[in-house]
Amino acid sequence: MNKEAPLSIAERDFILNALREDVRLDGREADQFRPLNVSFGEEYGHVKIQLGKTSLIVRISSEVTKPHDDRPFDGIFTIALELTAMGSPAWENGRQGDLESYVSNVLDRVIRHSNALDTESLCVLKGVSCWSIRADVHITDYDGNLIDAACIGIMAGLQHFRRPDAVVKDGQVIVYGVDERVPVALNITHKPLSITFHTFDEGKRVILDATRKEEQASEADVLIGLNNAGDVCYISKFSGFPVDAMVFVNKSSVALEKVKEINNIIDKALQADLTKRAKTALVEESRAANDR
């Protein structure tokens, strides 16, 4: 199967005609995101993202491995995204569809290839051992705009994650447990996010953060990946109808605004979680069972 049930012609026309009158099905503006909720689990690097009805869980994990032979100074960072029947009944378990490879490719480009995570800082001992950071994306509910949601999840996860401290002593690598030494935050060089636009009506209408139905009714998508400073690290116009060049110019400033907004939401959620953790840690430490 591996394909969502197509929209009926009436439904498609309804969405399109409503957009011609500047109305979206859920009453949003054309340049408005759905409500975004970022929450963290108990472990470091466990993020839950809820973007409208799209929801996903990102888990970041680390382990010590041998670096690639051609890059002895670099650690390894992988993004693993697998679409399962949980997210949508149209996806088949254990079989890679077009959407999966497309989304993984975009995430790789926006986050990994833009060097958001400084892989050189993951090196422990040149050519012998390094940290391998893995981001697992579990899509639990799919209602459009998978790429932006996954991007937000991975970036929030990377900023939230703490890896165990590792030290080299006399050529020996010692990894300290999380309760032995304060775990180390990852080195994030910049915070890129992707913003997806969909075009309708021969490129005349452009909307942000489309739901699944809007995605299906759209003609083409335009993807802009950029960071807080406004550095564009990825632009794509993957398929569908041609889009006017001015759309890219105009929408990249909209995207910048949105990226700043979302990064703010992530920062706030991170701060809230850190203060909560700091409180419980103090309580733990001051418990009577501990040595003074």
Partner: protein, 249 residues
């Protein structure tokens, strides 16, 4: 002993779903069921009058491998026998069960899934109930670790499981019949008997069977029997969903 916490139908796209958290093993599983759905051709050729059950276990922080395929086989074999695949609308269709490990420690490469198996089974059961898939019976399952001194630990943490000499997983039907017994490590038959007794007590309480075959559940050291805990989760959900009907005058 703190019982598991679970919730029914947390997801909106899947036909049925359940999230399940076991406090002692620390595992957190999210399960979804899509049924009955159309399967791509030829997969039902062997048994055209029955539904095909597919189980997919997605590890939290590692790529799937042999361990997952093995535990999928165990779950699938057990659930195929419980799901009434010949009911109307189910023949030649698929029942797709997806279980994602979204919290807790992951199973290491090459380690066994026995510590997680009861949580996976419970999640699958609750998700099946949430999707209203016809079942012949419900069940409850538990895992027990036996250490070198013969001490039995209920639902061991990953650390305890690593030091145990043998691990045992049992599943009992709602009538108290043994449905599944998976063991790992060396043990004697007498140990198995003991563990089996303890598991039955955990799942069903100390058995007091009345003349009509009904099982009365009683609480003891193990707290509320698992069978009852799972039943309560479903009862609560039904009560919530039908509040409009129940509270109406």
């Amino acid at each position: 002993m703190v019982g598991p916490t679970a919730s029914l139908t947390p997801l909106s796209r899947a036909d049925g779903s359940a999230s399940y958290q076991c406090p002692s093993t620390g595992s957190n599983i999210l399960g979804s069921v899509n049924a009955p759905i159309e399967l791509p051709g030829r997969r039902d050729a062997l048994r055209p009058e029955d539904a095909t059950v597919e189980v997919f276990v997605k590890p939290g922080t590692a790529p799937g491998g042999v361990g997952e395929r093995y535990v999928e086989g165990i779950i699938k074999n057990m659930l195929t026998k419980l799901i009434l695949g010949r009911e109307k609308g189910y023949a030649r269709r698929g029942v797709v069960i997806t279980l994602a490990i979204v919290g807790g420690e992951s199973v290491g490469r090459g380690d066994s899934y026995l510590t997680l198996l009861p949580a996976l089974l419970h999640t699958a059961l609750l998700a099946l109930l949430s999707a209203s898939v016809p079942l012949s019976m419900t069940f409850s399952a538990t895992v027990l670790a036996v250490d070198a001194s013969g001490k039995i630990t209920r639902e061991p943490s990953p650390k305890e499981a690593a030091t145990a000499t043998s691990l045992h997983v049992f599943a009992f039907s709602s009538n108290g019949h043994l449905l599944l017994s998976e063991s790992q490590g060396p043990f004697e038959f007498k140990t198995w008997e003991n563990v089996h007794q303890r598991a039955l007590a955990i799942c069903h309480g100390t058995l007091a069977r009345s003349s009509d075959g009904d099982v009365a559940m009683a609480e003891d050291v193990d707290g509320q029997p698992l069978e009852g805990a799972l039943r309560e989760v479903v009862e609560d959900k039904i009560h919530l969903d039908y509040a409009w009907k129940i509270d109406a005058p």
